[in-house]
Amino acid sequence: MASPAPASESPRAVANKSSKRSLLAAIRMALRIESPAVRHNTQTFNRNRYAATAALPDYNELKDRARAIKESSIANLPDLITTLEASVKRNGGHFYLAPDAQDATRYIADVCTRAGVRLVVKGKSMTSEEVGLNHVLQGRGIEVAETDLAEFILQVADEQPSHIIAPAIHYSRERITALFKSRFKTDLPLDTGEELTRFAREHLRQKFLAADAGISGANLIAADSGSIVLVESEGNIRLTTLLPPLHIAIAGVEKIIPSRTDFGPFLELLAASGTGQKLSSYTSIITPPLHAASVLTKDGAPVPQREFHLVLVDNGRMKMRQDPVLHEALYCIRCSACLNSCANFQTVGGHAFGGETYSGGIGGSWEAGTRALEAARFNELCTGCSRCVSQCPVRIDIPFLNSTLRQRLNQRDAGKISQLFSTALADDGDIAPLQKLFFGRYDAVGKWGSLLAPLSNWINAIPLTRFAMEKFVGLDRRRELSPFAKPTLVEAARNGVGRVSDPKAKVILFADIFTNYGSPARGLATLKVLQSLGIDVAVSETSADGRAALSQGLIATAAEQARRTAELLRRYIVEGRDVVVIEPSVLAMFRLDYHRLLTTSDGQLLFELLRNHSFDAVEYLWMFIQGTGLEPAKLFPASRHPLGKRLFYHSHCQQKTIGSAPATEALLLAAGFEVATSRVECCGMAGSFGYKKEYYDLSMAVGQDLFKQVAESEADGPRVLVASGTSCHEQLQAGLKRQVFYPTELLDNILQTG
């Protein structure tokens, strides 16, 4: 336990992940050393957040208000800065706007030097981490004591934060004990959380009582009054701002909102979304300089006038504000919901899924904005699963920010060979490395694969082919490839599928590329089940929806595919047909992403039309059955299913986000199945992510939670595995070596027995 990790595996050594090689080293390090603690702690946060947000009576209204306040604040930021400067000066404080990290640290070091500061106590501040403040102060001979217990651990260990609100989340109690014992050479017992906390408190109390200056961050700043909000649970920030005669607050410019009357919506939202509490132990609302605490001079003499400096940091933020996409990251209130709800983050934490300062899904935009685009390379670990989208208290579309970063990195990374392919495979402006093109254009791969099947499948089965695919496009050879379908869904539907006379409803079944080329059986099953209820079903031509391209950062290609697909489906919708979608990631495109991709005014109308008329296949069935008063238990009696009525259902990540998952569970239950469900955010495959050679191990590590839940549900006997997403099927099959069914396949099986 206490044996130190080899140097190449220390978090410091892998902090800079601007090359792919260093990113992969960080993932290996995290999987080997940090994964158990990160998994346990983030999943606890995650459960607590779900409970806390569900208990907030006006959660969605609070989110809307918080988003609106942040939008207008960032839009009016220059004016707010001017107002705030006047407020701080009126209160008797000093105001400083630092253009970059170097200038911010120089200013703070100068203030400390002028005041003769020898010891600084610090509350947790990510902005101070970003600008590298401690290093600069120590260079001036000033001792810096981090007083947040997690930051204290990191200071002792010389590591960078791995989480934006719980910086030492990767440390288990056992590792902290080992660390303290080796660094402090103490005989005190340090084997429980209580003992460790007591030890740290005694150590830090001496620092607090002797400190000459306190440096804090700020969660929010009100321009009209100069008031700041500080959220914490330990009490160290209160001591930092209350005891020393000099207080310096450092914060990014994006923390300013117009007025103290705007604080309201943020407090409960931040606590619920972050630690999953109603409020953290201490939420301070202060307008420094504080005039209190004269009792607490070192020697009992009255404190002279207290001094306060507000140091606002630009460091790239004003440029981010002008960025057509990345400006959205400035709305972030640093709650960490996007970290805790992310399956990849839960598995490796922020030392792998993070940059030098900022981590998780939102971290890429922050590293790109405050450091450099290359520093955001870890955004590759965002699979676009979208679980964070509905969890973000200010509704930031984090996957789209990451697709945009990927697009920009693609343009930097593209080689000469792939540029040739780009001309053939991607639309104007999309240049990318070969791997991105391969996965981003599954529509072309699938089309040729199916045309050439079974030849293409024979070729794929040859080890040499898999070796070449691994080498040239990075497709991991341990992954099984679904054979290219022959016939495809469209071809099969053309041949001999009967029409319904006097239909009760009319739908268009969208032949998405994943179903069409990869698994037409689930398409045909859906078709038959719909028809069995008297629904007229037309099957569309196949059309790339843009999901694969978007996930690889081929945004121009995705936008063009979105336009073509939406126009194709519009023709059916105006005929009075609703769109039935099999692959959940495609439905999520229609309901969420097309908003971003169909940008013209006609495109926005098209988006609205498609969003309002598209349904998950089982969601549509469930609505139809409820609307017509049919009884699922009679239509699809589970007792007649050949494999029994016990099943395990895993809903797809994007299906959860767009709210189409509960219908499947409801229908299966109503049919009489005994349903156990997964509780993971994502299976780990996440589209093409788990196919990639470099992410195979991570993908399988993420999958362990799901595989374990299946095993637990089968303690009293086996269950049929059911999943809604294509990639979830692949992952479950890879992990459990068993057949996995799409929900309508079960229903179709029952119809066959009748």
Binding site: N41, T147, D148, L149, I153, A166, A168, S172, R173, E174, I176, T192, G193, E194, L196, T197, A200, R201, L204, R205, F208, L209, S233, E234, G235, N236, R238, L239, L242, L243, R260, T261, D262, F263, G264, P265, L267, E268, Q277, K278, L279, S280, S281, Y282, T283, S284, I285, I286, T287, L290, H291, A292, A293, S294, V295, L296, T297, K298, D299, G300
Partner: protein, 172 residues
């Protein structure tokens, strides 16, 4: 549920303890004497309640008023008033403009807060409305205190870090 009942339920859920006491100096001191552990008692002058209401507390054994850093560091019990209570979260709001409330509510190991029942509001956002609590939430330096100080940074949840390990609220 009344605001005070909801407050008591939420505060208890946040690991504070709540007791309803008559609004007299003697009743408050008696409640303190019943629950407080042995040790120096720091009494901060109340800001919202009449100063005389803490008179009996100031006469308790070990009560002290001279506050050097050393004395505060050794203090076991701290008594302050709270100018607001929040029903939904079980928080109390302690004003820290005032000379001692900020440090007494933080450096004592056992914090006892005296909260006037009529100042319980529903949500934290009520503190930022000019029409509630006479707009004091918009003017004051204060802290929402929700249960004792706590950390999960050392592994399991530990109560009592830099701040008190116990919070007892006397609703008067």
């Amino acid at each position: 549920m009344s605001l005070v009942d909801a407050f008591e339920q939420s505060a208890t859920a946040a690991a504070a303890t709540v007791e309803r006491v008559a609004r007299t100096s003697e009743d408050i001191a008696a409640a303190v004497a019943r629950i407080a552990p042995q040790g120096p008692v720091a009494v901060a002058d109340p800001l919202y309640l009449p100063a005389t209401l803490f008179d009996a507390c100031r006469r308790l054994p070990h009560a002290f008023t001279v506050r050097t850093r050393k004395a505060m560091d050794d203090c076991v019990v701290g008594i302050t008033d709270a100018f607001a209570g929040i029903a939904r979260t079980g928080s109390i709001c302690v004003c820290i403009d005032h000379q001692d409330s900020g440090t007494v509510s933080l450096l004592s190991r056992f914090h006892i807060a005296v909260l006037p029942v009529e100042n319980i509001v529903e949500r934290p956002s009520d503190l930022f409305r000019p029409d509630r609590l006479k707009g004091d939430g918009l003017r004051r330096n204060f802290v929402f205190i929700t249960g004792p100080s706590a950390t999960a940074d050392m592994g399991p949840l530990v109560r009592g870090v830099h701040g008190p390990h116990r919070l007892h609220i006397l609703v008067v």
